[in-house]
Symmetry: C2
Subunit: 961 residues, 2 copies
């Protein structure tokens, strides 16, 4: 069964057909019938009267006699009183000014259709069936429906001579910008209504006429210059009645609209009359901006005083919930859309609005407070004063429209040639500038900023273009206090940082054995200070962002609103600077760590001379070689340790992303006072705020970083694996000490001398050694007898360093020569290797002897650091005679590897994360970039460190895998 | 200046005040004036006539004489013709059936207000100022405006006796479910209209009356059982006119609505008349479902034939763009919202709809195709047949409503006690079941499923509750073909996998030296097969999802739509199964890798006897110990290598997330044909589809995995660092071979014998060795002379394994004893350590001798693997006499560490990622879980491997750091 039916709509049924709405098709009407005006049924043709109509598809019509016509209700036939009916229209002819009468007043049919002239003060209505009264002004003028000279007729009213003072200049044009050349064009609306409205308003204070006149002034953007006729008229009338004002407001003439503000702009915008203390609690009455608009149509009729909710002022369609979110106090609202240009002709009606904000005064009375309007297009002496930055020059006004498709008309029923619409609307709410509690959620009068744009019928209606609409609600407050606080704390802390940098560079100077401050110390000062400034900047902006996060999102009464984009720029600059400082700090860390001097002291002594079993000449046996493999092993482990991080970056980032994006903490960063992590998909939420994003991200990042640090320090390293301790143990078992100089005279020492005296042996003995240690049958591992202290900070005298350098000298020479040799395309020669090996042996001996107190002139004492020395990470005494070896906390040597600088690296990554997020507003992107950057940093550190280690310990890179 | 003004609206101005809309306040009218009905101006009080009104706030009124009243237009005073005016209302008293006449027909004022009786066929209108005609039926009955017995009046019409055949049963109730007890309640709408409508429709085919009657049938859910009076009446009238049908459709009586389908349901729903071939291109006409609805109000008036767009059928408010997305073909649309219950009383009007889909037939004619409606609430003999799964029992209908707040009324102007509304609406579109191209985007008739719910005034209006509304458009097609294809390919491939698993377990049996298939082999078979099944399942579901991704998103003409939730369940099951299989595979991998036998062969021989320099007794010198540190070093490196992955999991996941979420490939997974990665925030997109999510995620994951593999294999390992090669080099330099047995008789061998003969020496000699190798002064490192081949697969004879086990026996014994010893709380004794060390030494000797061909009865030959052996990863010949040592590709030993199983691990992680995403529909969450799982797997593998390594090589765990 094919159920398909032809498609037809009512409009398709023309002529003698009607639309059968039960079957959705056109059907022919019966004989002498014709389709009704709505097309849904049949009527009798003219000259026929309706006999029966049961509501079905068939009606019965009966022809009237030839000299008869059908009555206007179609139910009867009637002859004409005077003459024969018009044979074409089948109506009785009547003269102008006459009406046709077919029935008695009691409903009985007359014998014939009569023509009846109307009496003087009446005239026939449009259908010609009744006499209606003329306007009183005509009656007054002529006791008739005429307006004889010297009376003048305008706008359907008859004015006495001289009443129509103001006439539109003959060359009056509406100044549509799109036309260009300021030529404008003659507007039907102005020509039709201006004169009458002006006269009625001036003479009689006709309420509607005054509104109409004012609307005409609003239509030309309050222009008082070239096209100011209407506005001039308004002002003249207003000033003429200056004695009588509405509500004692001087700018508001009684019984007329209020268009212009004459008060000082700043004063108007800092009135503190509005008593509402706005709250965040969405169930409270005081959480909404209660905007009301008084609405008038173009011709001045009052359409009501409505709340602005449900999109009254928003041209962009959306769900009611989202539209109304615009007036949720504290929610920075922004919506924009494109609308087909044709809607401005076909859909929207022209209406004018006066906006008010509703509040309750101290006595509990409901009040309205007028909202001033700043029309972007307003011109004064050819200058767009409202586009200026200086408030003083602004001209505040009152009335505005959303769409004006009336002023562009050239005739009453032609579509407008030009349409003007409010393309940008912004409610700007400013919190009162009391500090803190005193503010108590109170606002100054809102300011409504409007920008009008134009569309032309030629281009936009015909071209079916689209128009962009923006609607915003923004909140501002005086942020000077917060900014100042931030600047001051930054200043003070930066000064402290510089001081501490000075201290640190001085400590470094001592550690480097420099007596005077030289250029290198200056560099160091800059480097240290940059690092500290990074911390200081981060601390300040972090506190600042936390402040906003807590105070904005957690407030009950609105005491703060978020900084605007412009107010945020300082914050953004500080974030970027903190990142750059921290970047320098990490570079500095690289530079220091990748040039550290390190040497592995092998304590192993040859265990005798080696003879072949069948060799009887003992004296010829060589010294048994000491295997280098223990050194290789230790170097290899050190190499692995170098770029090892204390915390896990991948875990850090993924957990951060998890909390932000999966748990939904990112939803705390919207510019609305809602503090929920599970957003309602149907609700409106503000855009993301830079400061809140920074605050939430860095807060979470820090917390996870700290949790990781606690976990790794107190759980993982204790109960699972402590890489540093493992390394120290390995040194002890391998009978190898690690001697590190991170500055000239300062460094670290890991005492790895085996308690068994030797270690270069087979598995059996190694096992025996391990067992002996487990069973506490041997001494303790410490440098000093009967101690366990194996790790030390060292600060040595210059003499030590001189010796050290002297031993290294051939090594450096060799490298220099190698370079030259390489340039000459020759391979390294055996001799040169020998030089470096000699240096290695010498250094081994030198350092062993030094640790063993084997040199009289270069000696050291072991001591504890003072508390302050520990805290400040510096030494108070210079080693003059003897070097100092300080007991440390067991892992001070992590300072020369990444392990000891977790906080620096974490902060660097955190700031990188935030900076990337600042650019892309995308945490995931930030996480990915940070992860890759951190991998890169580790890789670079690993390979630079490997190179340095190979160079300094003479262990071939092939063993550092 | 305080601009605040009191708040007042028009309604506030009562009594003798009016609302001054220029000042927004109530003002008193002048003397003898009263507020007008709209409240915006003043009228003269009764008994006063209006003298002048300039439109301002002041009008002038003049009192009429005592015996005069004001005319109805307020402009004149007139005495009453008969008697004095009513002193209260100031009107002239007239009798019933009379009208008041104040003016002549020519507009002149009469001398007095006259009362005029209307003639027989007319009656006064409501205002009593004109005589209007009565309904024709009254005139027909009585030639008057009466309806005398035996005539009966109903619905404002006078029926002849007997015309009103059908009267509503006296106990007729509308069966609202909420009332319970099926008691229903008397509905004003039914009582008022039913009889008249039935009679008019039956007698005259009154179009509107037929519609009204039908609407009453629709209001009771087409119920033909208990409350079927209206539906029975409809059916009776329909069957009475059975000879005349609209469009030859038997179910559609002419001039009446079509309510019921009587055709076979399946036949109705598989008609292929609709010619439109729907397309994805959104600019095409054929990309939209052109749904039209014929709309009627409750009393049967036609409201038009409209497109269903702009939310005509959608109660949830939204932007036009999103509302219209519902009819974008192929977009699985779903919207739901809660609406305040009060709207159903206050906002929505009752309307009835007949829905059609618009199409163009082959001749280019526009046609409509009726859409059948399936009302969920329809009852037949007390059974909800439309809720059954069996299509055959369904009753398809035509007409539906969205909101019915009329049938629940008990009086004309009381609000409805119950409201019914369409809480669930679903358009179900089914593609024709032609295969492939033949389908050509054509559909069967859509099916509209509706479920009505009820609200009661008592609970919902008073309680201000909310009602949930769901609107859906779903697309289905016969998926049997695809499902079958998937099942078949799964079946075939699984069989192949089982075969291959058989082959592999057989190979394993040989490698394990087993002659018969025992229970272990069976286990192995299961394990291998599971691993392969994991691959097979993944391959099939991956292809399946790719198919959907490509064919659904890339089609021009709609040939496929996505499977529905139910159709997807098989796919989901397969994904989960693939994951479980792969999980088993990884467990198996763990089990094999963490129990591998491994031994480090130290080739170093003592270099002589050690004597102290001052010792002259050569014979007493001990053998110089061979340092174990090289073994430690190699073991340590092997330990690090164990859990090393070929590719970087963090990078893998972050890149995947980057592509999915930042670049936006996730937007390809929506259930609409849009294939853009940058969604328009204002547009509607379908929900995510499980299959597409799987396809996109696994596709990207695989691609990145492959890119990583290529990068690490061909770039990183060649130009940066090849960990495996480094390890082999280290072995060579350390003079240590690695002997691995992953199965009983099968394993890998890394030949690390130093070309220099010894390696346990000092730095000087090591350097010299390195240099000599660089300068090619020594032999090559290979196992066979003059080869470089250092890595091998080995397949050895049983005899070898017997020896191997025999040597290990004391080790195992020792461990068993240790356990007993531990139970006895005693420490290990030196002797036992010695046993294990002895075993170590013996094993070292045994393996060295074996490699050196030092044993006559246990020997091996070196050969290449056959191509097929390589491809199938098995050996064709059993080693009987001599073991086989196969040359390999240089890294076959990666099979015993993670490095060689990257694909397995990648697939496992991929499936984990997809399974987690399946659960949470959140890629980020999936990424985080996968990352943590992968870290966990690596950690576990690392520590189990470390334990195994320490156990097998006797290297203390302290050296495996």
């Amino acid at each position: 069964q094919d159920y398909g039916i032809p498609f037809a709509v009512v409009g398709d049924c023309t002529g003698e057909t009607f639309y059968n709405f039960a079957e959705l098709r056109c059907q022919s009407c019966g004989a002498s019938q014709t389709g009704s005006s709505d097309g849904l049924s049949c009527d009798c043709a003219s000259g026929f009267k309706l006999v029966s109509d049961s509501g079905g598809i068939d009606i019965t019509c009966e022809a009237c006699a030839n000299n008869e016509v059908t009555t206007s209700d179609g139910k009867n036939c009637i002859p004409c009183e005077s003459g024969v009916p018009n044979p074409v229209t089948r109506t009785c002819p009547c003269n102008e000014g006459e009406i046709t009468v077919e029935y008695e007043e009691d409903g009985s049919l007359l014998d014939s259709s009569q023509c009846l002239p109307c009496v003087a003060t009446t005239e026939p209505d449009i259908e010609g069936s009744e006499c209606v009264f003329c306007h009183q002004s005509f009656v007054d003028a002529s006791a008739d429906c005429d307006c004889p000279p010297p009376y003048e007729q305008s706008g359907g009213i008859c004015f006495s001579s001289g009443d129509l003072l103001q006439t539109l200049p003959s060359d009056y044009n509406v100044p549509f910008e799109s036309i260009g050349d300021d030529s404008g064009f003659a507007s039907w609306f102005f020509i039709e209504y201006y004169s009458a409205a002006e006269a009625l308003c001036r003479l009689y204070k006709n309420l509607t006429a005054c509104q109409l006149l004012s609307n005409q002034c609003v239509m030309v953007d309050y222009n008082q210059d070239d096209y100011g006729t209407t506005c001039d008229a308004y002002i003249e009338i207003r000033d003429g009645f200056s004695s009588s004002n509405a509500y004692d407001i001087p700018d508001w003439p009684s019984n007329m609209p209020w268009l212009y503000y004459t008060d000082d702009v700043e004063q108007v915008l800092t009135e503190s009359t509005i008593q509402t203390s706005f709250r965040t609690n969405t169930s409270s009455e005081q959480s909404m901006l209660n905007i009301f608009v008084a609405e008038y149509n173009a011709t001045g009729s009052f359409l009501g005083l409505h709340p602005a909710e449900n999109g009254k002022l928003q041209l962009c369609p959306d769900t009611t919930e989202k539209l109304n979110a615009a007036y949720q106090f504290g929610t920075t609202y922004s919506s924009s859309c494109t609308i087909p240009s044709r809607s401005f002709w076909d859909v929207y009606k022209t209406a004018f609005f006066d906006s008010y904000i509703h509040y309750v005064d101290l006595n509990g009375n409901e009040k309205l407070y007028p909202i001033p309007v700043l029309v972007d297009n307003y011109k004064e002496n050819g200058v767009f004063v409202n586009q200026m930055a200086v408030q003083r020059d602004w001209q505040l006004t009152r009335r505005f429209f959303l769409v004006d498709n009336v002023s562009g008309k050239t005739a009453v029923d032609s579509p407008a040639r030009y349409v003007r619409y409010a393309s940008d609307i912004e409610f700007q709410i400013t919190l009162q500038s009391e500090e803190g509690e005193a503010r108590n959620g109170k606002i100054y009068p809102p300011l409504l900023k409007i920008k009008y744009s134009e569309l032309s019928q030629e281009n936009d209606y015909a071209g079916a273009t689209s128009a962009r609409i923006n609607f915003k609600v923004t909140y501002t407050m005086d942020q000077a206090g917060g900014q100042r606080a931030m600047s001051i704390s930054l200043g003070v802390l930066s000064a402290l940082a510089a001081l501490y940098g000075l201290l640190k560079s001085n400590a470094w100077r001592r550690r480097s054995g420099l007596i005077y401050i030289d250029i290198k110390t200056m560099f160091k000062f800059v480097a240290f200070t940059f690092g500290l400034l990074g911390n200081v900047f981060f601390a300040v902006i972090f506190c600042y962002s936390l402040y906003w996060l807590l105070f904005f999102k957690k407030q009950d009464v609105f005491n703060v609103v978020l900084p605007t984009r412009i107010q945020e720029s300082a914050f953004i600059a500080y974030v970027v600077m903190a990142f750059i400082f921290k970047g320098f700090d990490v570079l500095h860390l690289f530079a220091v760590q990748c040039t550290t001097d390190i040497f592995l002291i092998d304590w192993e002594r040859s265990r005798g001379r080696l003879v072949q079993a069948n060799d009887s000449t003992v004296s010829k046996g060589n010294q048994a070689p000491i295997s280098i493999w223990r050194t290789y092993f230790v170097a290899n482990e050190w190499n692995e340790l170098q770029a090892t991080r204390k915390s896990h970056v991948g875990l850090q980032l993924l957990t951060t992303l998890f909390l932000l994006e999966v748990i939904g903490l990112v939803h705390l960063t919207t510019t609305d006072p809602v503090g929920s992590v599970t957003p309602d998909p149907n609700a409106y939420y503000g855009n993301y705020d830079v400061i809140l994003r920074f605050g939430v991200a860095s807060g979470i990042y820090l917390i996870i970083g700290i949790v990781q640090w606690i976990f790794f320090t107190f759980v993982y390293e204790r109960f699972v694996e402590d890489s540093l301790q493992n390394f120290v143990d390995l040194c002890s078992m391998a009978n190898i000490s690690v001697f590190i100089l991170s500055a000239n005279n300062y460094g670290h020492y890991i005492h790895g001398r085996s308690v068994h005296g030797f270690s270069d042996t087979n598995m059996k003995e190694m096992r025996a050694q391990l067992k002996r240690e487990e069973e506490n049958l041997v001494g303790q591992r410490g440098l000093l007898p009967s101690t366990d202290q194996q790790t030390f900070e060292v600060l040595l005298q210059n003499k030590f360093r001189e010796n050290y350098d002297r031993i290294l000298q051939p090594l450096n020479l060799t490298r220099a020569e190698q370079q030259r040799a390489n340039q000459a395309q020759s391979n390294r020669t055996g001799t040169k290797v020998d030089t470096s090996l000699e240096a290695y042996a010498t250094m081994n001996k030198f350092l062993s002897a030094f640790i063993d107190h084997g040199m009289r002139d270069i000696d050291y004492i072991v001591k504890d650091k003072l508390l302050f020395e520990k805290l400040l990470d510096m030494e108070f005494y210079d080693p003059m005679d003897k070097g100092f070896v300080f007991n440390d906390d067991g892992h001070s040597f992590d300072q020369v590897i990444f392990f000891g600088h977790e906080s620096t690296l974490l902060l660097f990554e955190l700031l990188l994360f935030c900076v990337v997020d600042l650019i892309f507003q995308n945490y995931l992107m930030a996480g990915i970039v940070t992860f890759i950057a951190s991998m890169f940093v580790s890789k670079i550190r690993g390979s630079l460190g490997r190179y340095n280690l190979a160079k300094k310990t003479l262990v071939d890179e092939r063993f550092l895998i």
